[in-house]
Symmetry: C2
Subunit: 380 residues, 2 copies
């Protein structure tokens, strides 16, 4: 629907005819600004399913450019035995890995890639290698967009990288470190005159994650008291926060659930900022099995802290042992296998329960973000 | 709902208070016989979602014993670019890998394991190692049923086996060959006095697959002209055939889609039977990457041939090259990665188009049964 881009730093406005990462005035990151009226009737496409149901508050000028393959509409499943282990009587999962590439990233990429199509982009470069990259490669394939993916050669054996390649991605191998991938993508994009994507910095990916909040509001009555998500770039957290804010405006919800975020002890810049501690980015790649959230520099920290303030949520760090312990407990008690990056939310629930933030009878929702067989299962 | 078991060979009836594999009179395989009236109102639970929606024609005496975790309710997604490559104007996928363990097997196991719970079984043994075994292990974990899984030690590196173990399965390692697994499970079950499962022979698993047909009838108007599925044991084929037969009775559908089945050239007992050729089971394990359908001895061949006769469907064999070619084409053209066992249906569509069985304007539905990252991706 009709929307503009607005700078989060200086407030400058830009039209939505181009794919935009940064403000043209000050270089700041951008947010969206919709013309859509704040009524449910104007915002929800009655009868439509999946992403198409929520198009009026998604950043597409022409809805025909939606690149979709059944993402979203994920079920909410009770976790009674995990709840018992946590001392909680009402714990559910939202099965976010029931998605085309096996992770919640598909909600972001259906929109991110749709915006590429909507703005006429046909060729892009970006760092890649994980769930976000696999998902992006899949949606680019579906849209017929040529993707140059820069991958660390140390990850040549990763099944996610094989999936990225099978989607027809032009794989460019680079040396170790996250910087090498980004540098390679930037240089290639500059030399070739093509767009450099950056899924961690653009707002489109975050916008796609709003659909998670929209669905929760339609599926759960009463709403959960607490929702806990993993925090790397924080896209899922920000998407939910934005989604619930919009629904408070238009009356779809009467209150916002407490939105909590989980990071590893190894990489916890958001937890540190929340607690007012200093955090120094660590050299080298993270060693935690929860590698999907090993993000040293958070792109939009202010938005995350504001989301916690608005919702009454917290950010907590979870130890490696607890992450792996809960991954196994979820598999043994409930029959569900998720990646360590996803299992971390159970460890966060335990900490928040111990801290008295979550009480025994509270209603707790855990989005389970990534399917556990996408990478080697720890311990085997 | 109230049901009896009836022998497919001698017609003897048995009550449903126990988990039953074989007829007590003649040893034949069993089928179900419901008391449920043949009306839509009696058969579909209005307002319910997923498996619970169809409980009146599923083999549970007490609906409270349903072991469920969000399986089913999978979306139908258009495949326009694959359709173009096939010379077909209306091809869609039903995304059967959007399921708890990443394959359609969850539809069978939600019912199979529910029946175990419904009949008071708390400990079982079976051969395991693939998608069916992973799914079974997951549902047993959720139900709190102890599962002794017999796995070939040659598969110790398989991620599916790691997943089976993570679910708390007691893994028993045995030597090579499918027979070693079955022999091990049978001997252990006899020695321990516990039940030996056999998912390929029992009717409960097939009953669960009826939900696939029920959903298709609710999602697609007009119905597809053709549906193509992979054939190993043939559970998905028989489940759809049974489901459509029931819906013809109660008026939910007016006609049955042509139900086609695909096998590999290497292991094609059903194609041979359909074409009136002899088929001799091959020694050793199959070499095709479509290993999920390498079943040498079909448990219920008569039902498959009857399904083809009823629906006007066919069984075709697809070459290894074509399976892998279509796996890649689906990933490159539509953004979807499935296992070779699943990609075979695209090769079958190509053959049926060439044979004039499927015409250019026909409506074709391809259930995509298994997520492609559950096993190594061929070529990488």
């Amino acid at each position: 629907m009709a929307y503009q881009m607005v700078c989060v730093q200086c407030g400058a406005k830009h039209d939505s005819s181009r794919y935009r990462l940064h403000c043209e005035s000050c270089g700041g990151l951008l947010d969206t600004l919709y013309d859509t009226p704040a009524t449910v009737e104007a915002r929800v496409v009655s009868g439509a399913k999946g992403t198409a149901r929520y198009l009026p508050t998604l950043p597409l000028n022409d809805p025909a450019n939606l690149v979709t393959m059944g993402e979203g509409d994920t079920p909410v499943v009770p976790l009674p035995r995990v709840g018992q282990a946590l001392g909680l009587s009402d714990v559910s999962a939202k099965m976010e890995y029931f998605n085309p590439t096996g992770s919640f990233k598909d909600r972001g990429n259906t929109i991110q890639v749709s915006v590429l199509k909507d703005t006429g982009v046909t060729e892009v470069a970006d760092a890649t290698g994980g769930n976000a990259g696999h998902s992006f490669a899949a949606y680019c394939a579906r849209a017929g967009i040529k993707f140059h993916g820069f991958v660390n050669d140390a990850n040549a054996d990763s099944r996610k990288v094989h999936a990225i390649a099978l989607h027809g991605t032009q794989v460019h191998w680079v040396g170790p470190g996250r910087a090498a991938r980004n540098d390679g993508a930037r240089k290639y994009a500059e030399d070739s005159g093509i767009l450099q994507m950056n899924y961690g910095q653009n707002i489109y990916f975050i916008e796609g994650l709003k659909t998670l909040a929209y669905e929760i509001a339609e599926q759960m009555d009463p709403l959960p008291d607490h929702i806990i998500v993993p925090i790397g770039n924080g896209s899922i957290y920000q998407g939910m926060w934005k989604g619930f804010k919009e629904m408070l405006e238009d009356g779809r919800v009467k209150r916002m659930p407490k939105l909590h975020g989980a990071q590893t002890e190894e990489t916890q810049p958001v937890v540190a900022a929340f607690e007012g501690r200093d955090w120094t980015p660590q050299p080298g790649d993270p060693k935690s099995k929860a590698n999907g959230i090993g993000v040293q520099v958070t792109p939009r920290p202010a938005a995350l802290l504001q989301g916690a303030k608005d919702s009454g949520g917290r950010f907590v760090a979870v130890s490696e042992d607890k992450i792996l312990e809960w991954q196994r407990a979820l598999a043994e008690l409930e029959g569900i296998i998720v990646e360590p990056t996803s299992a971390i939310v159970l460890g966060a629930a335990e900490k928040l329960k111990e801290a008295g933030v979550i009480r025994g009878a509270d209603r707790v929702l855990l989005p389970l973000t990534g399917f556990g067989v996408k990478e080697p299962i720890p311990g085997y």
